[in-house]
């Protein structure tokens, strides 16, 4: 299987690639549109700041490439947020795949920001394996996507938010499957089995 990891200035590209290596899945890390377009599965990772990342994607013309992909695409963390319409992080227009806005958590002593650590999922309609119901995943983020019609798993923090989403061939998770032990590996394997 050809798996492409989109190469850009994201902080967790190595971690995602190492996770695939542990699962014995071959991949290539690329920013070439023809390689991304011809892959069977595309992973769009992301750790970083929204506006600099969007600028980078636009400069490399990867924004249109991602938007027009037809094969299964998995956005992770910032990758998921960038798939939305707009982010409050430095007032950034994003890719617009999910017609939703990314909001900032309000810091509070009971709800520290970043939301950092392992938190449980409640599955809604969606593509995540039913065995993952109530399982914990590793999150680290200060911005979130509210619950919306595309939500496939909900996580509860100061507000309930989208832990996972799906629209057509676009899949997205706010948590880090590459750092979420066995549960995270299950998500990656299930995504890679999609047709």
């Amino acid at each position: 299987m050809k798996v492409a990891i989109i190469k850009y200035n994201a902080g967790n590209i190595q971690s995602v690639s190492y996770a695939l290596e542990r699962l014995n899945i071959t991949y290539h890390i690329t920013d070439k549109s023809e390689e991304i377009l011809s892959a069977e599965k595309v992973i769009f990772p992301g750790v970083g700041e929204a506006s600099t990342t969007m600028k980078y994607l636009k400069d490399k013309r990867l924004d249109d490439v991602i938007r027009n992909l037809k094969q299964p695409v998995l956005g992770i963390c910032l990758g998921m947020q960038l798939m939305c319409t707009h982010s409050e992080e430095n007032d950034t227009p994003c890719l617009g795949i999910f017609n939703e806005n990314v909001l900032q958590f309000k810091p509070d002593k009971n709800f520290k920001v970043p939301h950092m650590g392992w938190n449980q999922l409640t599955l809604t309609n969606g593509w995540l394996n039913p065995i993952l119901e109530n399982k914990e995943f590793y999150f680290v983020h200060s911005y979130y996507v509210p619950v919306n019609p595309f939500t496939s798993a909900i996580c509860q923090y100061s507000v309930p938010f989208s832990a996972a989403m799906k629209k057509d061939n676009f899949y997205a998770v706010q948590f880090h499957p590459e750092k979420s032990a066995r549960a995270g590996e299950q998500v990656l394997l299930d995504f890679l089995k999609l047709s």
Binding site: G11, V113, V140, S142
Partner: protein
């Protein structure tokens, strides 16, 4: 609900774990990758690696080791020790570390926190603070607790948060190594004071101490070394114990 994190800490020197580790079912207890994998399997939520290598020559092995760890373990980990610039941090994050911790160098030059946070994001900058209570004041110490400074714990962590640290790792030097429990009073004050997560360190001796640090100390995470390394407390049993005491943990 966000769960409370259990974090084993490993001291690294010249690419090996040190400080006498007596861990079951390991042929070579000095191999950090083997030890890290075992902790991840047992349900550790995160790991901290503290590089105590004294010389630059010894430190060169660190990013190679970080890459080995990142390749083999499927939970997040922090690397600290001797980090004093953006230049030091980039190779560690590129090698696969999720966070870095800074301590003495941030006290010497507080703008380092701003620089690191701007370059890499607050979520990967941990401000580690070693403090000792002297005459009713918590005095920040540097260089592994050797040197007292002018800084006080509460104002320093608040400044760290404002400068862009994403997390505080607080070690009470009064409690460290005693196995008499964590420093509950200052921890509960940190809870009132901060809006970033706090990792408690120093004093773990029993499973009850972990329960106390979460309920009374209101810490977000608890770090310990020897009780885990010597098998005095086993992580699966600790988590069952905490869960029975209504403390949310990942089982």
């Amino acid at each position: 609900m966000l769960t409370k994190r259990i974090i084993p800490c490993l001291d690294i020197k010249d690419g090996r774990t040190v400080k006498g580790i007596n861990f079951v079912n390991l042929r070579d207890a000095g191999d950090p990758v083997e030890l890290a994998s075992a902790y991840a399997e047992q349900g550790a939520d995160e790991l901290v690696f503290l590089d105590i290598s004294a010389t630059q020559e010894e430190r060169k092995t660190l990013s190679k080791l970080v890459k080995e760890i990142a390749l083999h373990i499927n939970i997040p980990f922090t690397v600290g020790g001797g980090i004093s610039s953006v230049h030091d941090v980039a190779p560690l994050l590129e090698a696969g570390a999720d966070k870095v911790s800074v301590n003495s160098s941030a006290v010497r030059k507080p703008e380092l926190i701003d620089d690191l946070s701007r370059a890499f994001g607050a979520q990967c900058i941990v401000l580690a603070v070693d403090a000792r209570k002297i005459d009713n004041a918590w005095i920040v110490h540097t260089h592994g607790g050797k040197n007292p400074t002018e800084k006080k714990l509460f104002s320093w962590v608040k400044e760290g948060q404002e400068r862009g640290a994403g997390e505080i790792l607080f070690t009470s030097m009064n409690h460290d190594g005693t196995k008499n429990g964590y420093a509950i009073d200052p921890l509960s004050k940190l809870y009132e004071l901060l809006t970033i997560p706090v990792i408690a360190s120093g004093g773990a001796g029993t499973m009850g101490h972990f329960a106390d640090v979460f309920t009374l100390g209101k810490a977000d995470a608890a770090l310990a070394a020897s009780v885990f390394h010597f098998g005095e407390i086993k992580i699966p049993e600790l988590k069952q114990f905490l869960s029975k005491h209504q403390i949310p943990v990942r089982l």
